[in-house]
Each structure stands twice: as structure tokens, then as C-alpha cells.
Symmetry: C2
Subunit: 373 residues, 2 copies
């Protein structure tokens, strides 16, 4: 295994070249923070790139440095698990625009101050360009597979479409090839909640008297609460919370969190602000809203995959109303029209969109089966 150059878990890469962006600009000094698990094999053919979701990060199977919580996909990534670190070399990088070490709006601009809202608006394809630059630096010409759920799935689709030589397979879970009006609407509510917070200060909340990234916490919490509703199914919420009260026997006839679901959402909102930068939230949601893979390729989704020779696997969940099965099916039809080998399954799981992160044994089997081909 002398050829396995990277066994460390955590690293940063400073790109030597400026990163071209869809907005027309070119971004200098881009840093990519990433983690790897397992060992790269001699012919560098066993690499799997995992792309994270909106509020995810590179800590796919390692403790989060701020919260101390386990990695977000430890049930999927590890020795003997569906994404098997004994067999594959796993890479997961914080996205461009993120706030966990990769270059984003909280990073210093050339003038030394945080970019804040001077950061260029980026796209999913720009994120993928940074991922590909990382693969270049790691000497990985072609991935065994690119894998992602939700926004990670958008990146996996974009990589397979825009860099067709760079992956042999793409696994897209609970995702979509375009953001719908309703998807955009929810993100816009979140952005307006952040921007309505006077602590946002037009994005310049990093100055004196503010801890970095600690600006519009109330607005960011509201944004997270609204988004969280979309991650769960109505049924799942009913099962999990119903109309049960939180630590009380009777309604208080006040505005405290009487109901468990209120208490849960408030906690989700507040805890999120400890680990996420509000401007990053603006930029990443914008990238997602701008995502329309068909539009990028002249309007016909199948044209996006014309140059691809990758195998594809699409997985949706029957209770996911954020990116419902119909969106996966649309991708499958386009892939079929493009002549790409594609398998597709809609799994039954009660957790809504979040199902891809949770205990769904059928998901494990499909993922393992597809990657081990």
C-alpha cells in the first residue's frame, strides 16, 4: 500500500489556479477543506466522492468539530458498511460557498476582510468545479462513483453531466435536476428571514462586537425552522410529535413552546446557528435555486447526459415532498433517452426527505448493490 498517498482524515487544498465561475468571474485562492476515509488503491480506481447537502459538510463519518456529534452519514460510510471504507477511498469536501473550511462568504477576500456579500454568487456547477479540482490534485482521473443526497445529488448529476469522463457511476438520492417554484419559495422565505434580521447588517456582521458568523442568529434560526418542515413528511411529523405537549400536562394559554413540535423546531433553529454561517446559507440556497440542469444544456435534460458513459442509480422516497419521486423519474427518463444505463427505485420510508440520512435498510442494500458492481 505504499502507493496509497492519503490515509489521513482531514486536509485542505489550496487551488493553484483560479476557479472559473458560471457568473463570469474567476475566483482566486480557493481553498477546499475535505476528509478522506480508507486508502486509494494502486491504480487509483476505487475513489468515491460523496457530495454533501445544503447544511452538511465534509465530516461524513467523523465527529463534527463544533458540535461533537457523529458524522452525518456514519450509518452509511465505514468498514463493512454500504460505502465500504475497507474497499473504497472516500472523499468528501466542504462545498464552495460553505463555512467549514472551504472558501465561502466568511473567508477572507484579497483585502483581508471577509468576503461577506461581495462573494460571487455561485452555482452547483461551480461547486462541482471545486470538487473536480480536488480530484485533479489527488491524482484521481476517474471516480468509481460520485454519490450524493439532496443537494449532494445535484452535484453528482452535475459532475456526471459536465465532467462525463470523471466518474464511472453516479448515485443520486432524494434529489432533483431543477429547483421547483415551491423549492425556490421555501428558500426565499429563509433568505428573507435572514436579511430581515438587523444583525445581518447587509452581510457585514463579522466586525467589531460580533463573533464571526454570529450575526443574524434569529433570522437564521427561523430560516432553519422553515426548511426543517420540508425535510420531514406530514405523516412522519404526526407520528413523531402529533399534538403532544412538551413537558406539561395542559396548554399554557401563552406563547411558550407548548407543543413538542414547537420545541423541536426551536431547538433545530437555535442549534443550527452555532455551526452555520448565515451568508453561506444565502449563497448555497441561491446556488440550489439556480440549479436547472436542463436549462444549462439548452433546455433538454437528456442533452445534459449526451456525453456520459457512467452508470446511474436514482433513489427517491415515497414520503419526500421536497424532491418527490416525480423529479427522480424525470431524470430517469432523460437518462434513458440519452441511452445511459440507469436503475431507479422509489423506497418506502416514513421520514420524508430526511430518509436518506436515516435508518432505511432498503437504502443501504441499494447503495451497496450499486457501488459494489
Amino acid at each position: 500500500m505504499a502507493d496509497a498517498p492519503i490515509l489521513t482524515a482531514s486536509a485542505v487544498l489550496d487551488l493553484a489556479q483560479p476557479l472559473p465561475l458560471d457568473g463570469g468571474q474567476s475566483l482566486e485562492g480557493v481553498r477546499v477543506a475535505y476528509e478522506t476515509y480508507g486508502a486509494l488503491n494502486v491504480d487509483r480506481s476505487n475513489a468515491i466522492l460523496i457530495c454533501h447537502a445544503l447544511t452538511g459538510d465534509q465530516h461524513v463519518a467523523s465527529p463534527h468539530p463544533i458540535t461533537g456529534k457523529s458524522g452525518w452519514w456514519i450509518r452509511m460510510v465505514g468498514p463493512g458498511l454500504p460505502i465500504d471504507t475497507d474497499r473504497f477511498f472516500i472523499i468528501c469536501a466542504n462545498v464552495l460557498g460553505g463555512c467549514m473550511g472551504s472558501t465561502g462568504p466568511a473567508s477572507p477576500a484579497p483585502d483581508g476582510r471577509p468576503w461577506a456579500m461581495r462573494f460571487p454568487v455561485i452555482t452547483i456547477r461551480d461547486m462541482v468545479r471545486a470538487q473536480v479540482a480536488l480530484l485533479d490534485a489527488l491524482g484521481i482521473a476517474k471516480l468509481h462513483a460520485v454519490v450524493g443526497g439532496s443537494m449532494g445529488g445535484m452535484q453528482a448529476l452535475s459532475l456526471a453531466a459536465n465532467f462525463p469522463d470523471r466518474t464511472a457511476a453516479a448515485l443520486i438520492i432524494a434529489s432533483t435536476a431543477r429547483h421547483s417554484a415551491q423549492n425556490i419559495a421555501f428558500h426565499e422565505v429563509g433568505r428573507q428571514a435572514i436579511m430581515a434580521d438587523p444583525q445581518w447588517q447587509d452581510g457585514d456582521y463579522h466586525g467589531a462586537g460580533n463573533k464571526a458568523g454570529k450575526g443574524p442568529e434569529k433570522g437564521l434560526a427561523v430560516a432553519r425552522m422553515a426548511a426543517h418542515i420540508t425535510y420531514l413528511s406530514e405523516e412522519g411529523m404526526h407520528e413523531k410529535f402529533g399534538r403532544r405537549l412538551q413537558d406539561r400536562e395542559e396548554k399554557t394559554f401563552g406563547f411558550d413552546a407548548d407543543f413538542q413540535v414547537e420545541s423541536y423546531l426551536r431547538y433545530q433553529g437555535l442549534s443550527f446557528t452555532d455551526r452555520f454561517d448565515a451568508n453561506s446559507y444565502l449563497y448555497i440556497t441561491r446556488a440550489m435555486d439556480y440549479f436547472d440542469l436542463a436549462e444549462e444544456h439548452g433546455g433538454q435534460l437528456s442533452d445534459a447526459f449526451a456525453g456520459s458513459s457512467a452508470r446511474f442509480c436514482l433513489i427517491s422516497f415515497d414520503t419526500d415532498w421536497l424532491y418527490p419521486t416525480a423529479e427522480s423519474r424525470r431524470i430517469v427518463h432523460a437518462l434513458s433517452a440519452a441511452g445511459a444505463p440507469v436503475s431507479f427505485v422509489e423506497l418506502s420510508a416514513p421520514f420524508g426527505h430526511d430518509s436518506f440520512l436515516l435508518d432505511v435498510p432498503a437504502l443501504d442494500r441499494v447503495v451497496a448493490g450499486f457501488l459494489h458492481q
Copy 2:
């Protein structure tokens, strides 16, 4: 027609008696602002009470005094229309807790200052108590029907259940007998958005330097935006907006309202703050979240209707995901179990929850058919 006492369109009633509340308090000096249309017949048997929804008001078929827009149900209420003012005497009152003339958190407390958050938390049943007090004052012993959509449907259900002698029929459209975890979640996001706005000032935004009701406008706008998403269907949003851009050919790679759906939501949010009091929004959403008609009656929904001799009609819409058909069906089953005469129809309409306010000819036919029996 000498016996027709009320032909005027607009009036207020100051209740002589304190209004008992579910929270245990008793509210003195309650004012009910209401409108009437048509004429009460000699035996006072042709009255229809229309109950409005969360952000509705008594201007069901008359121009709104602030916005100048037409009444919210002019397509339903008028001469020769399904709720026929040539035939029926129509009453619509601003709900208790509202901000269009009936007593609510913006009204003066006994000390002369606005109640603000000192206003007692009220329930749907408390709103109905105020409606019944109005019927008493108008000398209407028994309604021909009580009619309501959304929160108006909750009041119609509550009136039929809690005051079974007061109506011969109840027409409940796009409503529910309880707020679900998801319903509560959306409202909690809205409340947190309002309370996160520093202009809210713990509800005391009526003081010097603030126009009355003009406090947390940004927070209230965000609340309205989030709620608005729930009023439309995903499909309806797709048809209405898709990913179309607003007054531009290309994305701006910025945070302006590039997409039509963003522009629409921002407008909905901003225009709402001109006509609605933020504290009223808190109190009315709280009343809706507290609503669980079964719980009020020992846990069994059918028990709520044990004393009723009214005819019921339930209408749901197939694209309404706020109060989906399953909730109406649950009410129908309970009514059937209680032996009440009930008809039920799920209508097909593309507009989601808002269908009850929009052009759905089948709705007109069902409403007319039920009321003219």
C-alpha cells in the same frame, strides 16, 4: 319588510356581558365589528353566518377599507350568487382577536393602552362565543346555516358542536377538526419570525415613534410568506410561476427577486403588513394551533356532535395539502358515527388550499345546492 331590522352593511356591537374564555378568564367590553348583506325575513330564519379565515375579515363582499380591494368572497356572496343575498341575510363578523374592529390585542385594555401581549390567549371556541353573542344581539335564535372555509370552517364546526341549537346547517370548506403537527410547525415559524423582529418589542410596538400595528413588519412579512406557500399547491405554483424570471432575461447572480415566485412572495409579505396587526397574527395562529375539537369533547370526535341536529356538508380540495381531504373525511366519519346527516365531496381544483377563495365552479354548485335545500 318592516321587520327587517338590519339593511346596513357595516356595524359594531359592544357586548353588554363579559365574554367567558376557554383560558379561564372573562373578557369585558368586547366589541364585535360585522357586516350584513340582504334582509332578515319576518321569522328570522334566513340568516347565514359566514366565518372568515386567519387573515380574512368581515368585508366578505364589500371593499376592504384599507386596501380598497373587493371583498374576499364576492364571487360567492351577492344577489343571485351561491350565497344569495336576495334570499338570505348574511352576517360576517371580524373574529375576536382580529384587527379590523373587533376586540383584539391592538384594542385598548381597561388602562387605555393597547392590550398587546396582555391580551388573553383565545381559542376558536372563544371566537364562536363572540359570534353567538352577536346572533343574540341580532335576535337570531337559529341560523339557516353557518359557513366557513379554513379557520372559518373550524368556527363552523365549533359552533355546530358547542351551540347545537343555533344552526340548522353547517358548511365546512377546506378545513380540519384539529391542527396537525405540520400545521402547528408552519404557524410556529411565522410566530418566531415575528418575535425575532426587534421591532416587535415583546408586542409593545404601539408606542411613540410607531404607527399602530406597524411594528415588526419584516417579521410579519416573513410569516406571511411562509404561510402563503402552504396556501398554494406545488403543482399550482409550478403552473403559475415555474422557474420563470421576473422582468429580466437572465439570472442576475445576485439576491434580488430573480424568479417570479420570489417577487410574488415578497409582494404578498409586504402588502400584508399594511392591513394586519402582528400581535393579532400571533393570537389567531395560536387559537388555530390549540384547536382540536375531539380533545375538547373528551377525545372522541363523534362525541363533539352528539347534541347536534344540524345538516352538515364538508368540501375538500384534492390539491389542498394544508388541510387535506383526509381531515375532512375524518370529520365526515365522526358525523356519521354521531348520526348526523352529512354530505361530503372532494373537489378537483389546481389552487391548493386557496381553492375555496378562487374560481371553482363546482364549489359554487355544491354551496348553492346545500344552502338552498
